[in-house]
């Protein structure tokens, strides 16, 4: 059961990676990065249950927080260089 879920999530990660390479704009790549981050969290949780190691959940917890901060940082750098913050 866990094996099937692991394989499905790995396929989803590979598909997301294709978008990360192809995406014409930076935003496609950031979105793919965020998606791969979420999928990794779930993969770590499923692998933890598969190997009988509940300690893996700490890693998943750290990663949820870290990937959020990473995404915000990329957007901040891009908008401060290219965007028009007074356009609202």
């Amino acid at each position: 059961m866990y094996s099937i879920a692991t394989i499905l999530i790995l396929v989803a990660i590979a598909v997301g990676l294709v978008r990360a390479f192809r995406g014409p704009t930076l935003f496609d790549r950031v979105m793919a990065g965020n998606m791969i981050g979420t999928l990794t969290v779930l993969l770590v949780a499923v692998l933890g249950f598969m190997n009988g190691r509940p300690e893996f959940l700490d890693i998943a917890l750290v990663y949820v927080l870290i990937s959020f901060v990473s995404t915000i940082a990329v957007l901040r750098v891009y908008v401060s260089r290219h965007g028009d913050p007074d356009s609202d």
């Binding site: 935003f27 999928l39 917890l61």
Partner: protein, 106 residues
């Protein structure tokens, strides 16, 4: 009997969640425009994540493991849609326009 039921339920949730995640990923690959891809990611990812985590929670029983899984879900529910919101706003401010349907095509 209750054990079997919980097992089957967690099977269904786990596999269903993984299928939703895969569907979201395929949507990201095939949709024509950034904003539609963003929509696919945010909805399918959060739903799939919720189902997978709920399936694992049913396997874990009433222990610390379940509490940690609930915390992961809580953080994901807060940070996922917020990151997508930030992405959409950043794209808008930087001038990326959504592809609009041509009214003459069917």
């Amino acid at each position: 009997m209750l054990d079997m039921l919980l097992d089957i339920l967690s099977w269904i949730l786990l596999l269903g969640g993984a299928l939703f995640l895969l569907t979201g990923a395929i949507g990201v690959l095939r949709f024509p425009d950034f904003y539609s891809r963003l929509h696919a990611v945010s909805v399918c990812d959060t739903l799939g994540a919720g189902m997978v985590l709920l399936g694992l929670m049913l396997q874990g029983g009433l222990t610390l493991v379940t509490v940690k899984l609930m915390l992961i879900f809580y953080f994901m529910v807060f940070s996922g849609p917020t990151a997508v919101h930030a992405l959409a706003e950043a794209a808008q401010v930087s001038g990326l326009d959504p592809v609009e349907d041509d009214p003459e095509d069917g």
